[in-house]
């Protein structure tokens, strides 16, 4: 009675177990199938969709050389190294080689190929003959022909990337030398063409080796597994990851050909680090380690590249030539063993000498400039596009000037803090800051931009984001308006020799009174326009503005390039308005450019990965004032540096013809200097972000920084002066009377006039029998007798 139920129970249990197992197996198969389908989709998406992200790259401007140009060989060498050229002692063989011969005073460069926006430049060897820091001749070494200008490719400033900068250029399998492929297979997966993604034999061999050595010395991963790991999985050592890797490898092998997998592998692998840039793929590695195209690699170099895959930074020839060579030799041995290279080739490759070399890291030396570019680019390109589409962005940036500007600002601010300890006191809650922007007046190209003292601490770009009062650097617009329009009632024309009263003055404007005061309450009486501008006299300037009309002053400021709101108030004449340093730079560059306004230009061209031009920004010009008036203004502003508030520049050794204006706000919260030669303009601002009192003038705080920068930036460039346009006549003027100077005048200033307005009477203060006739200077009807007594 008892047995039956037991038998029944066993049978039921067995049946149930079988059913359960079948169910479990079915579920397993369904789930497994579903999971494999899922993996397949993931793998397919990666293989067939966008596989890699290509950061967009920002390039500096190109570097043009020509015979007669001043160029120190050290400067050129530093430039070549930054561009990734490599020095060689022997004959130039490959693109990217260069050779300096001090004995022969020559430099030979095998120029790089470079994809410019409008052409693919094919590099060729050139020879530059140098004579006392000057390029004497440039010759094409291949044709022997003389070249009259030579352009070096732009420097890579930085990449725009998400979190990791993966530097990679895709190649097809056909473009990879077969021997390099064999080297990789020999050392990484010699049974690649014989397995299905997982290689049990390799795993077993690795297991045995690891057991023998008592630790992990060999891996059994196939090349496909490595690719899967790099594509989808991290580097954590877990069973789960290993299983996933193996399953994915099987899926990939089932779905794609061996060549497709190999091609992806050669483009994917990590092969080293160049500062912020990770070097990925064999093409990029070939460029990084040897500066060569793949087709130019020697057997030894190919073996080294293959050897690097295991541990790129440990075996890097940049780290240790000895370690790199021994790793290379292991790969060569394996290649010889597997019959990929004959003995002779093997022995020759072993003898290849690996020279110790250094690389120049790509460090973003222009972070504020790059931020500015990002903002400009954001108008047309999304962040995703910029970080993944591999655009090439060509800019106006000059990295040499950028470096000089950074250095001048940082040193200058430091020196100010040392010299004026109160700045450090104030700096406890509000650190002393500064900004500098450099523009090429003729083109509007922004050559350098430093938006603050330390980008790491504050990314606030004061060149474009800080709206501050310009103070006296606004004054030239008043004088310009006077020279252009004359007095508001049309009764009088003004010239640089016109006289103006500098004394306490009240301006009644629309029912309100405004009383400008001079710096230190010092007044000079009747002075020429030049004198008032050179000494930055507030009262005299306000008087001129009142005669000309504040609307005209505002009109001139807008015409020159200011863009922000400018209130129609008398205080506008003394710069009581908020502007950015970039706006001021634009306005002053119009003067430097003879009255021709340009648009600030940072981004010049944008091209995509197929070298199609997406965007092109040209130099844009507009003549806004006559060259004669611009020249007269420049001539007056030269006096600021030679005699006026900017004479400190001369004391500090900057002796080129240059014009400029100091600027200090009434409450000394902002110090400015805007100055320029005919070919280069720089505007410097110094102050505190939270508007603490600086207690220094533009001449004390901003001018030294400007001078230091300009001294370095213009060294070696041709000496140029502002050329007087036709219609300008120079006359020697007595600055005391504003009349044409006589031989008896103790001080004489050469003044520029319109030819039609140059008829001046001779100085009544210092009469001479040989000098009679002419008319009174504009601005006054007769000479005040009281003035003669001064």
């Amino acid at each position: 009675m008892r047995r039956r139920p037991r038998k029944k129970s066993r049978f039921t249990f067995l049946k149930f177990s079988v059913f359960f197992l079948v169910l479990l197996a079915t579920c397993g198969i369904v789930l497994g199938f579903w999971y494999m389908r899922f993996l397949e989709e993931v793998v397919t998406a990666k293989f067939e969709g966008r596989v890699w992200k290509f950061p967009s790259k920002i390039y500096s401007d190109t570097f043009l050389m020509y015979p007669g140009m001043k160029l120190r060989s050290e400067e050129l060498e530093a430039k070549l190294l930054r561009l990734g050229y490599r020095e060689t002692d022997s004959k130039l063989q490959f693109s990217g080689d260069y050779r300096f011969s001090k004995k022969e005073n020559l430099v030979e460069i095998y120029l790089h190929n470079f994809q410019y926006p409008l052409e693919q430049f094919k590099g060729y060897p050139v020879r530059l003959l140098l004579r006392s820091d000057t390029i004497a001749t440039i010759k094409n070494k291949q044709s022997g022909k003389e070249i009259f200008s030579l352009e070096l490719e732009p420097e890579l400033v930085t990449g725009l990337y998400d979190r990791v900068w993966e530097e990679r250029r895709l190649v097809t399998l056909d473009e990879v030398p077969p021997l390099l492929v064999r080297a990789v297979l020999a050392i990484e997966d010699e049974r690649f063409y014989h397995h299905w993604g997982i290689d049990p034999i390799s795993i077993l061999r690795a297991f045995m080796a690891n057991v023998r050595k008592g630790g992990i010395v060999q891996g059994g991963s196939t090349l496909t597994q490595q690719l899967m790991k790099n594509f989808f999985l991290g580097s954590e050592q877990t069973i789960e990851r290993k299983v996933k890797e193996a399953l994915m490898a099987l899926v990939v092998e089932w779905k794609y050909s061996k060549d497709e997998i190999l091609e992806n592998y050669l483009n994917e692998i990590y092969l080293g680090q160049k500062g912020a840039q990770g070097i990925f793929g064999v093409w990029e590695a070939s460029q990084f380690y040897f500066g060569k195209e793949l087709s130019q690699l020697t057997v030894g170099e190919m073996a080294l590249l293959a050897g690097l895959i295991k541990a790129p930074n440990r075996y890097s020839p940049y780290r240790s030539v000895k370690t790199a060579a021994s790793r290379r030799n292991i790969v060569l041995g394996k290649m010889f063993e597997d019959g990929f290279i004959p003995r002779r080739q093997y022995e020759r490759a072993l003898k290849e000498v690996l020279r110790p070399r250094e690389f120049v890291k790509v460090v973003n030396n222009a972070p504020f400039y790059v931020d500015f570019l990002r903002k400009e680019l954001a108008e047309n390109y999304s962040r995703q596009v910029l970080e993944a589409e591999g655009l090439k962005i060509f800019t106006s940036l000059d990295l040499q000037l950028q470096g000089l500007a950074e250095k001048a600002l940082s040193n200058g601010l430091k020196q100010l803090e040392e010299r004026y300890p109160h700045l450090l006191e104030a700096g406890k809650k509000d650190r002393l800051e500064g900004a500098i922007v450099v523009i090429k007046p003729q083109t509007g190209e922004i050559k350098a931009m430093v938006g603050g003292r330390d980008y790491q601490k504050s990314q606030f770009n004061r060149v474009v984001q800080a709206r501050r009062q310009p103070g006296s650097i606004f004054k030239p617009f008043v004088y310009l308006a006077a020279l252009i329009y004359g007095s508001e009632d049309g009764a009088r024309r003004f010239t640089p020799a016109s006289l103006v009263e500098d004394s306490p003055f009240t301006w009644n404007y629309e029912g309100q009174e405004w009383m400008p005061e001079n710096y230190n309450d010092k007044y000079y009486g009747l002075v020429t326009f030049r004198h008032a501008l050179e000494k930055s006299l507030n009262s005299a300037t306000a008087r001129i503005a009142s005669e000309v009309g504040i609307k005209k002053v505002r009109d001139v400021a807008y015409r020159l390039g200011l863009q922000g709101p400018l209130p129609l108030l008398p205080s506008l004449a003394l710069g009581a308005v908020e502007v950015t340093p970039l706006e001021m730079a634009r306005a002053f560059s119009t003067l430097a450019n003879g009255g021709v306004r340009t648009n600030p230009l940072a981004v010049k061209q944008v091209i995509d990965q197929r070298s199609q031009i997406l965007e092109k920004r040209n130099v844009r010009v507009k003549k806004v004032i006559t060259p004669q008036v611009a020249f007269m203004m420049n001539h007056m502003l030269k006096g600021v540096l030679d005699r006026g508030t900017g004479r400190g520049a001369r004391r500090r050794g900057f002796n080129r013809p240059a014009a400029g204006k100091t600027g200090t706000t009434n409450d000394t919260r902002d110090a400015w200097f805007a100055g320029y030669t005919p070919d280069l303009l720089a505007v410097v601002w110094v102050g505190f972000d939270r508007q603490s009192e600086l207690g220094l003038t533009g001449a004390q705080a901003a001018l030294p920084i400007w001078t230091e920068f300009m001294k370095q930036a213009t060294a070696g460039s041709p000496l140029t002066d502002f050329n007087p346009p036709p219609g300008i006549e120079f006359i020697d003027v007595d600055p005391l009377s504003g009349y044409r100077a006589t031989p008896n005048c103790p001080r004489v200033v050469r003044e520029a006039f319109f030819k039609s307005e140059a008829l001046l009477a001779f100085c009544p203060l210092h009469p001479s029998p040989v000098a009679v006739g002419g008319t009174a200077p504009s601005g006054i009807s007769s000479w005040p007798l009281s003035h003669t007594a001064r």
Binding site: Y66, M69, P441, T443
Partner: protein, 222 residues
């Protein structure tokens, strides 16, 4: 008799008529000769025929006023070659700049306008005092259809090339071309005329005027 008198009167009338015809013919002949003599300078129809009204205060207003007969001048020698301007005294940056401008010019001639623009902009950066680069930049902009930008460069070129009649004529003729392209036919005519006054050999201006004459006549016939 009556018939005879009538015949005589008829003959007299015929004679008078013939004389009149002859006089008119002679007058026409004289006029034709005068016109033939002056036909070297294009004699355009009245500018008011253009469908585009002249701008107030524009240069075209001046062209409508009676003007003194311009002197016929000989064409100026071609100064087109910039490399020919190089001497051993030319400063290196100017020499490089002139050569690059010449290169830009060649690119323009071969129709590579964008490349020419890039090259010429570079040239401008090396030597801002090279006056010719402004003209060629204007020309490059003209070719890529940036007429306003081209006119802006020509404004600058006009200032920096003053005193060089050959080049000023080039500037005015290109201005004329730009105005024509923008539809300001009156301004185009006045600029072509200015160019021809400076250099009667300026082909662009004379061709431009001929073309304009055709363009202006067509609407007037409708």
């Amino acid at each position: 008799m009556g018939t005879r008198r009538e015949q005589l009167a008829g003959a007299l009338r015929t004679e008078v008529f013939c004389w009149k015809v002859l006089k008119v013919l002679v007058l026409f002949l004289v006029l034709a000769i005068i016109q033939a003599c002056t036909s070297r300078r294009p004699n355009l129809p009245a500018l008011s025929r253009s469908r585009i009204p002249p701008r107030a205060g524009s240069e075209s207003a001046q062209t409508q006023r009676p003007r003194a007969k311009p002197k016929i001048r000989a064409p100026l020698p071609d100064e087109n070659s910039l490399v020919a301007k190089l001497t051993h005294r030319t400063p290196p940056h100017r020499a490089a700049s002139l050569r690059l401008t010449e290169e830009g010019k060649r690119l323009l001639e071969s129709g590579q306008y964008d490349k020419a623009l890039a090259r010429l902009e570079k040239t401008l950066a090396i030597d801002s005092t090279n006056p010719y680069v402004y003209y060629y930049l204007a020309k490059a902009h003209y070719h890529v259809g940036h007429h306003q930008e081209s006119l802006n460069f020509l404004e600058v070129a006009e200032s920096v090339l003053s005193g060089q009649p050959y080049w000023l004529a080039e500037v005015y003729s290109l201005k004329g071309e730009n105005f024509r392209a923008l539809g300001f036919l009156n301004l185009a005519v006045s600029n072509f005329n200015k160019a021809l006054q400076l250099n009667p050999g300026n082909q662009v201006a004379s061709n431009g005027l001929t073309r304009l004459r055709r363009e202006i006549k067509v609407p007037s016939l409708r």
